[in-house]
Subunit: 325 residues, 2 copies
């Protein structure tokens, strides 16, 4: 049987010389972790829970589930322009697994591989965890740092600012749809987008100098733009034809459905930012150097609401409710 | 229906002049919170998940569930000698509630009352949260601070050190047993102990000066003493007759069962510490000033294992497994 005390240490211990272990005075294994925050910085904290069959399909690969659970939390740090440092994980494992040691260990090894690879990539140490039994769910609290006063928020957009996004849109939605249709080729670009989303941490840090506001696209472009507009008190006009579509999306869904996915599909984890038009070219170049596309898709205005949509209403995704205005 | 975006803001927003809001540059409502760590301090972080019918009975009062979920996490900060500052909460609400608005709101109001009262008492701001549907569970990540190098850990006990505990033992186990037998008088001292445990934060800070090691008693005295012995590489002899028994425990259970509850019952959330005998009196006085009893129950030794137990084996509680050596 699984002993809850052992799971975290057994599957999630990284070598102490791993880059992620910087600033960890005491990691997993005591009542709490001891961490050394950097002087002149603010701590940036967010929590995200991923529940089986709500946020990811139960038959998704274990390593993708581990990757995604951390990625969606890191994406929130990216949206603040923060550097990621540490995380803790609350893992609820399926009760049935506790009757089947072998299945549990196989899944855990796979899950930990996906989680730890992304953690290492972003120098993020897992400094605490807790394992319970129930219905598979993962709660990840991420902690990052940003120089005092430099964080990006949802609240600074000004009328006249340009609206831009990193990467491409619609792939999260398109990938999930493909998965549900039975596609299992992990190298399909849409499946890759859905199962292994990329938190845009380097892009978020790079954009700090010019962006006036930022949010990550988890609920869908229109829904998240709505949060940003509300916090900033601005309207927006969008250029639908400018939306960067995820690779393979047009082929898989056709033009109308692809554009709908880009506007309202969730799970893209790209950054949506506003910035003065004068800095767009600099921002584009800096992000290009990071390998991240940067596309202008509209402009902030004084007229509240969203303009430029070809159909009357698009909807964003909200868990529990399904589509919502 | 409940909108997940609103739950945290609606039920958990405290006035910005509340003492808990110190050091919160940006709270709930953006992608992440922005916090100002104190110079010269380490960050102390722990996560605890409470699952219905595993860690608390589903029919427990909502305010007690809120109180307990935070209390068990704060108890880990107390065991490090830390001051609590901030927390985030991952709340998984019962799916059925989303079909019944009124029941959900009534429960949430109750739950938030218990959670927020304890948070305010310990100047701990809820700076982020996330609400999902599934089986009722609460994951709380707490963040505290401690002056650099002064944290208590499980690892510093020396042979010859005295072993002491705060408060009284067995009440968590006794209270749960009473609840399961149908007792519903919230003012019964044992129910109070189980449903509204007291995280010993002030005591933990006060003991920092003298304690050589510390742990909180969540799995039971013997089990947690085992963790401390293992981390410190010491043995222990206990004076069974010295164990401070929770109020009402003898009456409710009789002497043998009461002592067993004190040794192996979980959910007490008292501190178990070691310290040089020379400082016991100072520590006792300082804790008395805080209204917290402090009782010597044994001594650390060079002989590994636990000595002085009147029966061959007592067991500690481990979730999933039940009793375990």
């Amino acid at each position: 049987m699984l002993a809850e005390f052992d799971v975290i240490r057994r599957y999630f211990t990284l070598p102490s010389d791993d880059a992620s272990q910087q600033g960890v005075a005491l990691g997993v294994g005591d009542d709490a972790a001891l961490l050394a925050p950097q002087a002149g910085h603010q701590l940036v904290v967010s929590v995200d829970t991923s529940v089986v069959d709500v946020h990811f399909p139960g038959d998704a690969p274990g390593d993708a589930i581990g990757h995604r659970a951390l990625a969606v939390a890191l994406s929130d740090l990216a949206a603040m322009g923060a550097r990621s440092r540490w995380c803790v994980m609350a893992l609820t494992l399926d009760q049935a697994w506790f009757a089947n040691d072998q299945a549990a260990h196989a899944w855990l090894a796979d899950y930990a591989k996906g989680f730890s690879a992304l953690a290492t990539q972003h120098a993020t140490a897992l400094v605490g965890g807790d394992v319970t039994s129930g219905r598979l769910a993962i709660g990840v609290t991420v902690m990052g740092e940003v120089p005092v006063g430099e964080a990006l928020t949802r609240g600074g957009a000004q009328a006249g600012d340009v609206i831009a996004v990193t990467g491409a849109l619609g792939g999260g939605h398109g990938g999930l749809a493909l998965w549900q249709q039975g596609e299992r080729d992990r190298s399909h670009p849409l499946l890759e987008r859905y199962l292994w989303p990329t938190p845009r941490l380097a892009a978020g840090e790079a954009l700090r100098e010019w962006a006036t506001s930022a949010i990550d696209i988890s609920d869908g472009l229109l829904a998240d733009l709505g949060h940003l507009r509300e916090a900033s008190g601005v309207g927006a006009s969008l250029d639908i034809d400018a939306l960067p579509l995820a690779e393979g999306l047009l082929d898989a869904m056709g033009e109308d459905a692809a554009r709908q996915a880009a506007l309202t599909g969730g799970d893209d984890y790209e950054l949506l930012v506003t910035l003065p038009a004068a800095h767009v070219e600099q921002a584009r170049q800096r992000l290009a150097a990071l390998g991240v596309p940067f596309t202008v898709i509209g402009e902030c205005s004084n007229t509240l609401g969203v303009h430029g949509l070809p159909v009357q209403r698009y909807h964003g995704w909200q868990h529990f409710k399904g589509e919502t205005p």
